[in-house]
């Protein structure tokens, strides 16, 4: 159990990247339209986020500096501000969507209107950030989020044609009636979600919250190597469920109830209970991750005192900025906008945020002033350069693809 708790940071971070409300729906949409044909994108994304999260965790453990401090220090105020603006908008839009997501999950459980749950959800997120210890929040949401494994169980219970599923994954083709451009739009969206920058902001800041040092490097590696592959596994399981049940019936996924449909079909009410707990924990965890990331990025750029290891009074601007973010999120939701749609739009800002986040991480992970003997090895650097190119291509392609396809419509 203690070992499991030691990797809660990695699990919670990965939940925010792979199975938050936007990804839950996107994964099901992808499965219902393209089968397992985008499996490779998830795998590429898992390797990429492992690579850079591990670098950011290592920099934090060795030098005590979190990722946005490094971004400002290395890129200067201008490029740093461009990244802050883009990353902050992604954070804000995602946290808005997650609060909506918590409300949707509560609606599945209680049939009470999501509008009524939203203020409750936002208050819940705030009170946890205000009062709970960091270790408590990551352990509870990380562990409960694991109940999403019910999606993987459902795949087995549904007894699919495995050779067909694996065939789709190994030989990706664009399914009939779908456009190649739409396929690539979802490829970029899945990759962007896997590599979304708030994961490294949260992971590196979490490392500081947990007071990691050089001695924690092994722990950092385990966190990364368990957390993110698990996240990728869950997202593939969701896509597989949709492939097996929704694709043959041509059901278009537009809401959360369709995402859970295959699980209910496979395991009935008990499975439904598990999946609701899982979605609740995942969306709540992602809401915590993005709200804290908003506070972390702002504080680190401007040099404010931050961290949950301090009393709120000792990190006043950090806490005030998060309260404001939550209020803005609630305000946006009050207009009745679809939470899932918000996360889809936020991908656009990744075009700026992704390169400007991962370049400085790669550079500082090579800086002996910060890292001493723990600088990157050759293999890490070679992979890092390859991913920097992939990130750049995906970033440049994201906006035109989104416009051409009308966000995958």
């Amino acid at each position: 159990m203690k070992k499991l708790l030691g990797i809660a940071l990695g699990i919670l971070t990965a939940i925010g990247g792979f199975v938050d409300i936007g990804d839950l729906v996107t994964n099901a949409v992808v499965g219902s339209r393209f089968g397992m044909g985008l499996t490779w994108v998830v795998l590429v994304g898992v390797v990429g986020i492992c690579l850079f999260a591990q670098m950011s965790g290592r920099v934090a453990a060795v030098s005590g500096r979190a990722t946005f401090e490094i971004i400002r220090e290395r890129l200067g105020p201008r490029a740093g501000l461009a990244n802050l603006a883009a990353s902050f908008l992604i954070n804000l839009m995602t946290l808005t969507a997650e609060i909506g997501g918590v409300a949707l999950a509560l609606q599945l459980a209680t049939s009470v209107e999501p509008m009524l749950w939203m203020p409750v959800a936002a208050f819940g997120v705030w009170i946890v950030i205000w009062r709970a210890k960091f270790s408590l929040l990551e352990n509870v949401t990380g562990l409960l989020g694991l109940t999403l494994i019910v999606f993987a169980v459902a795949v087995f219970l549904l007894g699919p044609d495995w050779s067909q599923l694996i065939g789709q994954a190994l030989h990706p083709t664009v399914s009939q009636g779908e456009h190649t451009v739409t396929y690539w739009y979802y490829a970029v969206a899945l990759f962007g979600a896997a590599m979304t920058p708030y994961e490294v902001f949260f992971f590196s800041s979490g490392a500081i919250e947990e007071k990691w040092t050089v001695k924690s490097l092994a722990q950092s590696r385990v966190n990364v190597l368990v957390g993110f592959p698990l996240g990728g596994f869950l997202s593939l399981a969701i896509a597989a469920c949709a492939t097996i049940v929704l694709l043959p019936q041509s059901i278009a996924v537009t809401s959360l109830s369709q995402v859970v449909l295959p699980v209910v079909q496979a395991g009935g009410k008990i499975a439904l209970a598990f999946v609701i707990v899982g979605i609740l924990a995942a969306t709540f965890g992602a809401a915590l991750e993005t709200t804290l990331s908003s506070g972390y990025t702002l504080s680190q750029y401007f040099g404010w005192s931050w961290g949950k290891f301090r009393r709120p009074a000792q990190a006043a601007r950090f806490h005030v900025s998060m309260i404001i973010c939550l209020l803005i999120g609630l305000g946006v939701l009050a207009t009745g906008v679809d939470p899932v749609l918000i996360t889809e739009i936020s991908v656009v800002f990744s075009a700026i945020a992704l390169p400007l986040t991962y370049l400085p991480i790669l550079i500082v992970a090579n800086d002996p002033e910060y890292m001493g003997e723990h600088v990157n090895g050759r293999l890490t650097n070679a992979l890092g350069m390859v991913y920097l190119v992939i990130i750049l291509v995906a970033a440049i392609a994201a906006i035109p693809l989104m416009i051409i396809t009308g966000a995958g419509a």
Binding site: N366, D367, P368, E369, G372, N381, A382, G384
Partner: protein, 117 residues
């Protein structure tokens, strides 16, 4: 004055020819002793002929990987040199002028002063 006003200014030699722009200002902590640190004295300016963009830390000799990024930045800042304060003849709001017969030095930093090793 604010040091940042100096950074990025165009630099001219005494013939009025542009030789680059101010990339960085190098200080040495050897002035009058203070409570803990001595005063930081402006020792000179790092001047880059081709680029105003930051060197991103690669001006240090111990910083050289990833190789591609290192090569790219060294190329962007090829011909970068260092002049000492004595070589500065005049500073205006828009540019810096160097004295007749000013001397160019190697601008690279030998080691990271932040590390104790």
């Amino acid at each position: 004055m604010i040091l940042n006003d100096l950074l990025g200014l165009d630099v001219f030699d005494d013939h009025g020819e542009r030789v680059g722009s101010v990339l960085d200002a190098r200080f040495v902590i050897d002035g009058r002793p203070g409570q803990t640190l001595a005063e930081a004295r402006l020792d000179g300016l790092v001047i880059s002929p081709h680029s105003r963009h930051s060197y991103l830390g690669y001006e240090r000799m111990d910083m050289n990987s990833p190789a591609i990024i290192n090569a790219l930045l060294r190329w962007m800042h090829r011909g970068t040199f260092y002049v000492r304060w004595e070589a500065v003849q005049r500073i205006t709001e828009h540019d810096v002028h160097l004295r007749n017969g000013y001397r160019r030095f190697d601008a690279r930093l030998s080691a990271a002063p932040g590390t104790t090793s």
